[in-house]
């Protein structure tokens, strides 16, 4: 089984080692968050399903977003 910190060969990567953990972190947690009507069923990955609109993200990021939205609602 591949270790989380084992470097993987990547096209276009820098000469620094990039671990699978780095990749998973970036492709799941960095970038545009799209809300849509989606279905999610991935075992072993902490993802969030919110009603008809889904926020696909890690729990950590989702909590941050939800807290920010709550704050916004409180202020308005």
């Amino acid at each position: 089984m591949q270790n989380d910190f084992e470097p993987v060969a990547l096209v276009g990567a820098s000469d620094q080692d990039i671990s699978l953990l780095d990749i998973l972190d970036h492709v799941l947690n960095a970038g545009v968050i799209v809300h849509g009507s989606l279905v999610l069923s991935l075992a072993g990955v902490d993802l969030v399903y919110v009603g008809l609109n889904v926020v696909l993200t890690s729990v950590e990021t989702a909590l941050r977003t939800l807290r920010a939205e709550e704050k916004k609602r409180e202020l308005s």
Partner: protein, 222 residues
């Protein structure tokens, strides 16, 4: 069920080559709105958990390929649209914000320094001792972040930090071509006792996207 997976947005320029294929060998397509392009492919949804790691690497390769040409706004791997029209509507609604961010970040890349607490063997001590040790680690972490900010003042075009229970993450925006300077400067900084650092990059400047791009209001979605 087939869905539409968006990889990244970028500004059209002459000489840009697209990757050969997307996830699972899928053909890649572009949606264009003025100078903005969004790369996408069809995917079978939902993903099987057994392919997630492979898909993550393939997704990263596509985004990295485009990032090697210039700035990109990455989408998240698990963000999919119901159909092509939904993505087209999304691009039409948000192209101005995306283009603005891409122009602002055109020649910049994101470098990262993860500062984390070294795992310690459990010590049989009081809760007060534990809190003292924790406070000491936090002070060390804050001092390191302050030092990074200071030594990178001329190199950095932006610096953000994010705290976690295991340490801090420092995101630094530097000009493309200055990645090695970042590495050598930060690598040479002494790390406080019981802390470790890990450097990575260059990455697309996702941490420095505007809120309008990072969390856009959806259109064309039910």
């Amino acid at each position: 069920m087939t869905k539409v997976l968006a990889y990244c947005a970028f500004l059209n320029r002459p000489g840009i080559s697209l990757p050969e294929h997307g996830l699972g060998g899928a053909s890649l397509y572009e949606i264009a709105q003025n100078e903005l392009r969004v790369l996408w492919s069809e995917v079978e949804w939902p993903f099987d958990s057994s392919v997630l790691q492979r898909y993550a690497v393939e997704f990263h390769k596509v985004v990295s390929h485009m990032f090697s040409h210039g700035a990109v706004v990455p989408f998240r791997l698990l963000s999919v649209f119901d159909h092509k029209q939904a993505l087209t509507d999304f691009v039409f609604a948000h192209h101005a914000d995306f283009s603005e961010d891409l122009k602002r970040l055109q020649n910049l890349v994101q470098m990262e320094c993860v500062l984390y607490f070294k795992p310690q063997a459990p010590i049989d001590s009081s809760g007060t001792d534990y809190l003292h040790r924790k406070a000491e680690l936090l002070r060390g972490s804050e001092a390191f972040v302050a030092e990074v900010r200071k030594v990178l003042s001329t190199l950095s075009h932006g610096l953000r930090t994010r705290e976690s229970k295991n340490g801090s993450r420092i995101f630094v925006l530097v000009e493309r071509g200055n990645e090695h300077k970042f590495h050598s400067i930060v690598q040479n900084l002494p790390v406080p006792e019981r802390l470790s650092r890990r450097l990575s990059g260059p990455w697309p400047a996702a941490e420095f996207l505007s809120e309008a791009v990072k969390v856009p209001n959806m259109v064309g979605q039910k």
